[in-house]
């Protein structure tokens, strides 16, 4: 056992450290900050899903905000109208959204990546209007207000034993989100390492070639869509829990763009990528909104405009710059930097073994 632990590659240790960090985090930060981090993790979950779709099967969805909306409304309606326990509604929302996503994969099969991007973008734009219309079900523009979740006794006990304070519903939401994030992270990890992951990557790199080597294209594309939607559905459901409120305007196109930003920043086709990307995409507008008004040299009227426009400008600039300079995102930068460092450390010995071009001969 000890042997195995010692032999574990460094990335396993990274995972362990990350888990401990995120588990202990809420005990040292405020309840409000815990709520923020819960939201960041929700974004991470949705981005993990998007990443499976984009990074591992080469299909681009700009409509994952719509899947989040579906998940959120499923949970909200079940909890609000049918008085179901919210925690139970989360997996239901995930499965339902996953099923819808799976079925969505059917028409998606016939589309090229470009058309799919176009159609899903249209879906993202239309989503708020689609939600507003069935008023009886969704309560229209007014949205649905949800009760804040009450932490169960065991969680309260454990939390107060560690911190000496009473657990708030925000902190409880954080832990619920964290647990889901862990589970889904583990799922993605396994998915990618096994047969299906390889099949999906083959799909991304060349459909015809993948089909020629016996990959069931249709099946895997739909599967990728389904799983991806499942993630988004769960994220949406958790979003309802953390914000205590769902409304059509909670799911604008901007949300889908935000998800894309997160996926791209973290690096497509990378498992740790969504974590970095999600946290960044979530805190960027929040931090900039705190930073801007604090700058006394910016006049107040302008500051409010900057607050509103700032995130869009930064998101846009980041997307463009990353695509031009670092298409593999943060994780790509880190790993390539690590590789370069390692090569440098290994010294010039390697360089000499490099093949010299053969001598030219002239006739």
């Amino acid at each position: 056992m000890l042997q195995r632990i010692r032999a574990a590659p460094p990335r396993y240790w990274l995972v362990v450290i990350a888990v401990l960090f995120f588990a202990g985090f809420p005990t040292v930060i405020s309840s409000f900050q815990a709520a923020q981090w819960a939201n960041a993790l929700i974004l991470v979950i949705a981005i993990m899903g998007l990443n499976i779709l984009v990074g591992y099967s080469g299909q681009l969805s700009l409509g994952h905000g719509a899947f989040m909306a579906l998940g959120a409304y499923t949970s909200a309606i079940l909890a609000h109208r049918y008085k179901m326990d919210y925690l139970l509604t989360v997996p239901i929302a995930g499965l339902l959204t996953g099923l819808v996503g799976f079925l969505f994969g059917v028409p998606a099969l016939r589309l090229s990546a470009l058309y799919l991007a176009l159609a899903t973008f249209a879906l993202a734009v239309v989503t708020p209007s689609l939600i507003k219309r069935p008023v009886a079900l969704t309560n229209g523009v007014n949205g649905i207000i949800l009760l804040p979740p009450d932490p169960p006794q065991f969680a309260k006990d454990a939390f107060s034993a560690v911190t000496g304070t009473v657990m708030t519903s925000e902190q409880w939401t954080y832990y619920v989100t964290f647990a889901w994030a862990l589970l889904l992270f583990w799922l993605a990890w396994n998915l990618v390492r096994h047969r299906s992951g390889r099949a999906m990557r083959a799909l991304r790199d060349g459909e015809v070639a993948a089909a020629a080597s016996g990959v069931n294209i249709a099946g895997y594309k739909m599967l990728a869509f389904g799983i991806s939607a499942l993630y988004a559905g769960i994220a949406g459901s958790l979003f309802g829990m953390s914000s205590g409120f769902v409304s059509p305007d909670s799911f604008p196109v901007g949300l889908s763009i935000q998800l894309l930003v997160g996926a791209v920043i973290g690096g497509l086709a990378s498992i740790p990528g969504p974590l970095a990307g999600g946290i960044f995409a979530y805190f960027l507008p929040i931090e900039s909104n705190q930073w801007v008004p604090a700058q006394t040299w910016i006049p107040t009227q302008i500051a409010s405009t900057v607050e509103k426009a700032g995130p869009a400008v930064t998101y846009g600039a980041i997307l463009i710059l990353i695509m031009i300079f670092a298409p593999n995102g943060i994780v790509g930068l880190v790993t390539s930097g690590y590789e370069r460092l390692r090569r440098r450390l290994r010294g010039a010995a390697d360089r000499e073994t490099g093949q010299a071009p053969p001598d030219p001969q002239t006739v």
Binding site: V54, L60, P107, F121, V126, T305, G310, G316
Partner: protein
């Protein structure tokens, strides 16, 4: 019946607007196999430039062409600065770049001009005229006329001029065109410039109806997507026909299909997109594409 006719006319007016924006999409698609998601935002930005020019006291009919020239230059600049570095990247990368542009331009417009909707002048009188017994507004007729002229100009430019010929050549086969001395990269830039100018027309035409604000084109671009997809995304003629069909359909559906009106008109566009892509992916005028390994 007169009511229907009236709806058809105003549908044609919005159709002309959609057609202009769809044509802009087609121009860029033909040049580099890319759907420019930022096309609507570029049009919105140009419209803000137009209103700024008019605020400075320029006459509408002077501000209009000046704006188109600025939009053209802006399109060229965007291609040179933002698109060229990723010209050879996979299409997914390019799509993400144009989405980045979408967010960036939207934010910049908000930053410069704010988010309060503002009125935009229309050069056409709001009076109506009786056509075949239906009351049609000069506004609608004017929009139809302007869009028609612009589309005609683009058609002549592409089909009847040397520049148009080299643009088409560069789009169809960049390698062979280079061997003919065509400066392919500049042709792409020219394509972006033209698209930007044509798109700007749609922005200026739609602004008096929708009010000008940074998110103005967000719905219009969806209709333009529907138009381009319906017409076959590589066909300029298709974009125009598609635009008109989408305009009329949406107007009629909004007026006569009970559940649809208001917000859900946009869902009609989504339905058109999905239906065409699933049932007839090449659209009305597109050619079937060949898959390559």
């Amino acid at each position: 019946m007169q009511g229907v006719l009236q709806q058809v006319f105003s549908g044609l007016a919005s159709g002309g607007i959609f057609a202009s924006l769809a044509l802009a999409l087609v121009l860029i698609y033909n040049a580099m196999g890319l759907v420019n998601f930022a096309q609507g935002e570029m049009a919105m930005f140009a419209t803000f430039i137009a209103v700024t020019l008019m605020d400075r006291g320029l006459n509408y009919w002077i501000a209009f062409p000046v704006t188109l020239v600025i939009a053209f230059a802006g399109g060229v600049a965007i291609q040179r600065i933002v698109i060229r570095p990723v010209e050879r990247a996979p299409v997914l990368t390019l799509v993400i770049v144009t989405l980045g542009l979408t967010a960036l331009i939207n934010g910049l417009a908000g930053f410069i001009w704010g988010y309060l909707p503002r009125a935009f002048p229309s050069p056409f009188p709001s009076r109506t005229i009786s056509v075949l017994g239906a009351y049609v507004s000069y506004q609608d007729l004017g929009v139809i006329a302007v869009c028609g002229v612009v589309l005609l100009v683009i058609y002549l430019l592409l089909q009847r001029t040397t520049v148009g010929l080299t643009m088409r050549a560069a789009a169809h086969n960049p390698e062979a065109s280079r061997l003919m001395g065509v400066r392919v990269s500049w042709m792409l830039a020219l394509g972006w410039g033209l698209a930007s100018a044509v798109g700007a027309v749609s922005g200026i035409m739609v602004a008096p109806i929708l009010f000008l604000e940074p998110n103005m084109m967000q719905t219009v671009i969806i209709y333009a997507f529907a138009a381009a997809v319906l017409g076959g995304i590589e066909s300029p003629v298709g974009a125009v026909v598609g635009g008109l069909i989408v305009g009329v359909t949406v107007n009629l559906a909004g007026a006569y299909v009970p559940y649809v009106g208001g917000d859900l008109e946009l869902a009609v566009a989504l339905a058109i997109i999905v239906a065409v892509l699933v049932l007839k992916p090449n659209g009305l005028f597109g050619r079937p594409s060949v898959r390559r390994v």
